[in-house]
């Protein structure tokens, strides 16, 4: 076979050695490029998965709550029955005896025997990753429900989010309401009263209450008595009763973390004679 049909001047063995050396280099370069491509794909997918996991785990609603509370106060958030029209709401638990009532809000005081629900409404939204959903819900539902306490339960919307990979059910948050002077006041709070938020939580190891007021975010650990968790939000320091307060209950348990945000109105519970009039405002 030798060089009989060999077409070129270079001896066959020499050419074969040259081809083999060059082919080996091509193969090595190709393998390196393939490895680099695989590493790039794996790295990119790892980064992507990591980012997705972080995005899922970082589902705290505090950010959107902050946005709702700190941002400019839209006029639609003004609650009927505030300082401009104090007679609409009925006083809450600031003083159980002070139930001035009013011509418009009389249905509220009669519909709840305790006479403590001042016609406030509470609208809850839970752990939504879009703060706009929460805020839009509040702005649309609050004015409509502020004049009748009986409609409050109907307007309460509660949902929970759970960790997607766990089989243990996430904590359930329900029946969020206020308590002042030991008396449940329903779903609103007087602006000059010490108020406590009470909520029933099941399946939680710890719970935190957060709320925004005057551009600041407050946070306090909740204390449990069996399934009833409570925390004091103190006395709301300003009288801007036309701005609802956004509160968030963060319940943490072995099954994950459940967030429940609520927008609650601050009622002006001052007696009618001393209530600020529109001209004063």
């Amino acid at each position: 076979m030798a060089d009989r049909d060999w077409p070129v001047a270079t001896p066959r063995d020499e050419m074969l050695a040259r081809v083999a050396a060059r082919g080996t280099r091509i193969r090595a370069v190709r393998g390196a490029l393939n490895a680099l491509a695989v590493m790039t794909v794996v790295g990119a997918s790892t980064l992507g998965v990591g980012a997705a996991l972080r995005a899922v785990s970082d589902s705290s609603p505090s950010t959107e709550v902050d946005n709702v509370a700190i941002g400019p106060e839209p006029p639609t958030l003004s609650v009927p029955g505030s300082s401009s029209n104090p007679s609409v709401t009925v006083s809450g638990g600031g003083s159980s005896s002070s139930t001035p009532g009013s011509a418009v809000g009389s249905t509220t005081s009669t519909s709840e025997p305790s006479g403590t629900a001042p016609g406030g409404s509470i609208t809850s939204s839970t752990s939504g990753r879009t703060g706009t959903t929460s805020s839009s819900t509040s702005s649309s539902s609050t004015p409509g429900t502020s004049t009748t306490a009986t409609s409050a339960p109907d307007t309460t919307v509660t949902s929970t989010s759970q960790a997607p990979t766990t089989t243990v059910p996430a904590p359930e948050v329900s029946n969020l309401r206020f308590k002042a002077d030991g008396v449940y006041t329903g779903q609103s709070v007087c602006h000059e009263a010490e108020a406590t938020v009470a909520v029933e939580i099941t399946g939680a190891d710890a719970a935190v209450l957060k709320w925004n007021r005057a551009g600041r975010t407050h946070r306090v650990e909740m204390v449990a008595e069996e399934n009833l968790w409570s925390a004091s939000i103190g006395e709301l320091e300003d009288r801007a009763t036309d701005v609802p307060v956004v509160i968030t209950v963060e319940a943490m348990g072995p099954g994950g973390t459940t967030y429940e945000s609520a927008i609650v109105e601050v009622a002006d519970c001052s007696p009618l004679p001393s209530a600020p009039s529109e001209s004063e405002a």
Binding site: V8, A17, R22
Partner: protein, 169 residues
């Protein structure tokens, strides 16, 4: 074969015929034995690198011819770019002019037409072998060949006679 170690299985036996094909098609395009030898060696090196995939394929000869022809066309283009002045001074060499014109015309053909023309007329493969090498039907080979040659005739005009070149191949 003492100087070469770890050759892929079957590569040594297939080396001579494949190298001969690669060399001949490159020489037809380049018109230069030394350059054709380099092109054929590069084509065989690529066959060596991909030997695991092409070793048992019936189209491996066509694969090598395609690689060799593509490398040769690239070399012609590169040569014409880098030494156009030299070519101009040797314009009396009709063979060089024809080769350059052919390389340019081939490079302007659609890929499939170019491959068919090169395999059939420069590589010397039959239509059936071309079809096997390109993994298309023989009818498709005829169609591409017809269109490719028609395009070459239009572009090259009287510069060269394709039918004659094919018959001499």
């Amino acid at each position: 074969m003492s100087g070469v170690t770890r050759l892929p299985e079957g590569f040594d036996e297939a080396f001579d015929p494949l190298f001969g094909r690669a060399f001949r098609v490159a020489r037809r395009i380049l018109g230069d034995d030394a350059a054709a030898e380099d092109v054929a060696a590069e084509a065989m090196a690529r066959a060596y690198a991909h030997w695991g995939k092409i070793a048992l394929q019936p189209w491996r000869e066509g694969w090598v011819v395609r690689v060799s022809s593509n490398l040769a066309l690239d070399a012609v283009r590169k040569r014409s770019r880098t030494s156009s002045a030299v070519v101009d001074t040797e314009v009396e060499d009709d063979d060089v002019v024809i080769r350059l014109a052919l390389a340019d015309a081939l490079s302007l053909l659609p890929r499939r037409q170019r491959e068919v023309v090169v395999l059939r007329h420069l590589g010397g493969l039959s239509e059936a072998e071309c079809a096997q090498a390109l993994r298309v039907s023989p009818g498709a080979v005829k169609t591409h060949l017809h269109r490719g040659l028609a395009a070459l005739r239009t572009r090259l005009g009287p510069v060269m006679n394709l039918e004659g070149a094919a018959s001499h191949g």
